[in-house]
């Protein structure tokens, strides 16, 4: 008998921009150890105009920046609020939160489609590589 030939077809590649919507997976994402942020519900953060804005979560990074997250009541899109969103340490924390959220959300999504995670690794460029599979 010949060896079984495994079909190994790579047929599609999609790149997508994350849509952060609602707060469902956000709490879970922000509690991940790697993100090293503290999330507190029911708080306010100062925005660029110096106004206090009520937010759903507050991230506190090592630099001491306070970054708020809230779901826009009209669009449900998640917004970041900070005194200076262009500051490097703030940007870094925002990215970390987005990556953690994206990871949780895609894992939940593919799990619901019957996939199981078989591999997860952090790449030198800062990306997280996930391999999920199912048999049919």
């Amino acid at each position: 008998m010949s060896n079984a030939v495994s079909i190994n077809v790579t047929c599609m590649m999609a790149s997508m921009k994350l849509m952060m919507e609602g707060l469902t997976e956000l709490g879970e994402a922000l509690s991940i150890e790697d993100v090293r942020h503290k999330a507190n519900a029911e708080a306010s953060v100062e925005n660029c105009a110096g106004e206090k804005v009520k937010v759903d979560y507050v991230l506190k990074n090592k630099t001491g920046d306070r970054i708020g997250l809230r779901a826009n009541p009209k669009t449900n899109a998640v917004e970041f609020v900070a005194k200076d969103l262009e500051k490097a340490s703030v940007k870094e924390s925002v990215s970390a939160a987005l990556q953690a959220y994206s990871r949780i959300k895609i894992l939940n999504e593919v799990k619901s489609k019957g996939y199981g995670k078989v591999k997860e690794e952090k790449l030198p460029n800062g990306s997280i590589r996930l391999v999920v599979e199912k048999w049919r």
Binding site: A14, M16, I106, L130, V132, K134
Partner: protein
Amino acid sequence: MAIKQELIIEVLADGKLKIKTEGFKGADCEDELKPIEEAMGQVEKRERTSDYFQQSNQQKNRNRGSAK
């Protein structure tokens, strides 16, 4: 025979995603990815890799110097 279907997902440092499919036949991979794409966000780029167009030629790659 059971076929393994795989998604190779890259979560970029800024939260963007890249997803590659493996083990799907023809347009199946598009059907599989579509709901995932819709749930996750906005697709910036979608490309078909060369294998997409070689479905019927899979056999070609099969036998390669197996003699020992």
